[in-house]
Symmetry: C2
Subunit: 333 residues, 2 copies
C-alpha cells in the first residue's frame, strides 16, 4: 500500500469542522501534498484549502481523492457516490478512512478496476500478517503512549519526526491510525486488524532497519483503557520501543467513553507501559511527557508542566507551544 | 448463533491424531452430543466414535456436521467440498473451525441458503460488537488465565463448569475459542474479532445476569505472550472477573512460538493479571492454580503442586488428576 500524493481532500457534507478532523490533520502536516478541497452542498467544514473541481485537480497533478471526514449516518450517500465515481472516471485513486468500505459503493470497485485506479480503505486492512515473534530487530524505535485515547500521540510523534528530520536524523513516521496513514502515505490501522495479529502487524510496520535509523511509531489507545488496552498492549509488544514518550491531556475527568474509570497518574501509566515494553525490549525508557495545555492560561500551563516534571522526573512540554526539541535532544544525545 | 446438537464429527483426511484435537475435545466434553465420525480416505485420526455415513447420521437425528480438524495446506480440497455439499443437500448445518471460511467453497453458501441450512464459521465472527464500556455487570464471573498459550485454560474452565453443575450451582461456560464454541454451542472467538472490539465482544459474551449466577469464561493466550497479550488483556478487561484461576504447564522452556521469551513465574503472572483485572473489578482475586502434570511421575507431580502452593499461597491441582472440587469449594464457600 502506498497512497500517492498530491491529494484532493474530500469534505463531503461534513456537519461541522470537527467532522473534518482527519482532513484537517493531513492538511496541517502535509500542506505540500494537499492541493485543494471538495465540498458538497451543505458542507459546514473548511480546512482552508482552495475549493477546486475534480477536473481542475486532475489537471494540477492530483493523484488521490482522500476522504478525511466522518460520514453522516455511517453510510455512503448517493451524492457522495456520484463524486467518488466521477473521481475514478477521471483516473484518481481514492483513499478512505470511513468505517464503511468503499467496496460497498455500487459499481465503484469494478469502475476502479477498469480504470486501473486503486481504492484504499485504511480502516479495512487487506494485508495478511504473521503473528508476533518478539525477536529483537535492528534499528531504534520510539513509541508514543498515553494516559487516554486522543491525547496527542499522533501530533507528538509527527512533531518529533519533523524535528529529527530537520536535524538530518534518519527516521520514519510509522502510522497506526487513519489520519496518520494519510499523512505517511502508508501504515496499518492496528485497531482494525484481527486481534491475533496486533503485535504481528506492528512488527511488519516497523521492520529491521539500519542500526542508526529511528522508527517513530504512532501510539493508540491507553494501557488503562477498558475498551482499547488490548490494542495498546499488542502495539507496545510489537513496537519493542527503545524510547517511550507519554502523552497526556490534563482536562479529562475520566477515561474517554468509560465514565466510571478515572485517568491513571502519569507515573502509574509510565510504570505499566515500561513493564509491558520490557517483554520485548529490556532497555526501554521513558524520555519525556507531552501535555496538551491548549485550554489553559499561561500560569496554569507552566504549573501543569512543572507538576508533571516533579511527578515523573522527566522533561515535560506542550509540543504545540515549546516544541519537542528538548525531547529530541534527550533521544539523540 | 446457536450450533445445534447432535453433532457428526468430520475428521477429513487428518494427517495424525493431533490434527483432530478440536474434534477430540468436543467428543470428550460432550459425548452425548457426538453421534459419530466421518473419515475420508487417508485419515489418520480416530476419536473413538462410530464411523457413520451422512445419510445414517441424518436418520439418527444429527443436526450439524462439525469440522473439528486442521485442513492440510490450509485450503478446502475437492474431496472435502463434496462431503460438505452432500451434508447440506441432506439438510445438515455445518460448523467449522477452519481458518478458511466455508463461504470460499464454491456454491456452498447458495446451496445452504436454498436448503435453509446454516454455516457457522466460528473463526470468522459475523456479529458486530460495541466497544467495551467497563461498567460493572451483575452476576459473578470466573476467568482462567495462563502462564502461556495452550496450558489447559479451556479444560480447567470446563472441569469447573462440570463440578459446579453437579452441585446445582447456576453457571454457564462462556467459550472464547473454536473448540470451546463447539462444546458450548455458541460463543465468540475473541482472537478473531477486530482488535478494537476485544473487550466489547467479551462484555457481550458475558452479559448482566442473576447475582448468584456464575459465568465461567474460557481464557486465551497469556498477558506475557509477545503475540497474543493484547487479546488476553482485552479479555480480562471485558470479563471483569471476580475470580481468576491460573493455568500452567511446567514443561515449557519458553513461551510457545517465541523462543527468546521465557515463561514468567506464577506470582509474576498472577500479579500482572490481577493488576489488569482491577481496572474493571477492584475485588478480583486469584483462587487457585491448575497445573498440567501429565508428563510427570507421581513424585515429580506432588513436588510440582507443593512448589506452586509454596510460591503462591494458593491451592494447586491437576484438574485431570485431583479434579477441581477443592477450587470450587473456595469459590462458592
Amino acid at each position: 500500500m502506498k497512497i500517492k500524493p498530491p491529494y484532493l481532500m474530500f469534505l463531503g457534507d461534513a456537519r461541522d469542522q470537527l467532522a473534518a478532523k482527519t482532513a484537517n490533520g493531513v492538511a496541517f502536516w502535509r500542506p505540500d501534498w494537499c492541493l485543494g478541497q471538495v465540498r458538497l452542498k451543505g458542507c459546514k467544514a473548511d480546512i482552508g484549502l482552495p475549493d477546486i473541481g475534480l477536473e481542475d485537480a486532475v489537471q494540477n497533478g492530483v493523484k488521490t481523492l482522500v476522504i478525511g471526514v466522518a460520514n453522516q449516518g455511517g453510510y455512503i450517500s448517493d451524492e457522495w457516490s456520484q463524486t467518488l465515481h466521477k473521481a475514478v472516471d477521471l483516473g484518481l485513486d481514492i483513499a478512505s478512512g470511513l468505517h464503511v468500505s468503499l467496496r460497498t459503493v455500487p459499481g465503484l470497485e469494478e469502475a476502479a478496476g477498469a480504470k486501473g485506479c486503486q481504492l484504499f480503505d485504511v480502516r479495512h486492512p487487506v494485508e495478511t500478517f504473521d503473528v508476533g515473534r518478539g525477536h529483537k530487530r535492528s534499528g531504534k524505535r520510539l513509541l508514543t503512549v498515553g494516559t487516554d485515547t486522543s491525547v496527542g500521540k499522533m501530533f507528538t510523534t509527527l512533531a518529533i519526526e519533523k524535528e529529527m528530520s530537520a536535524r538530518g536524523v534518519d527516521c520514519s513516521f510509522r502510522a497506526t491510525g487513519q489520519t496518520g496513514i494519510f499523512i505517511a502515505g502508508d501504515g496499518v490501522s492496528v485497531d482494525a486488524v484481527v486481534a491475533d495479529f496486533i503485535s504481528g502487524a506492528t512488527e511488519s510496520l516497523s521492520p529491521a532497519n539500519d542500526p542508526r535509523h529511528w522508527d517513530l511509531i504512532e501510539g493508540q489507545g491507553s494501557i488503562h483503557h477498558a475498551a482499547y488496552a488490548g490494542v495498546t498492549l499488542g502495539l507496545i509488544h510489537g513496537a519493542q520501543p527503545d524510547v517511550l514518550v507519554l502523552c497526556h491531556d490534563p482536562g479529562r475527568p475520566h477515561m474517554r467513553g468509560t465514565p466510571n474509570i478515572l485517568i491513571h497518574s502519569l507515573n502509574e501509566t509510565i510504570e505499566a507501559c515500561e513493564k509491558a515494553a520490557r517483554l520485548t525490549n529490556k532497555n526501554v525508557k521513558t524520555i519525556g511527557v507531552a501535555i496538551n495545555t491548549s485550554r489553559m492560561s499561561d500560569t496554569e500551563r507552566l504549573r501543569e508542566l512543572e507538576a508533571a516534571t516533579a511527578e515523573t522526573g522527566l522533561l515535560a512540554v506542550d509540543p504545540l507551544r515549546e516544541g519537542v526539541a528538548s525531547i529530541v535532544d534527550q533521544i539523540i544525545s
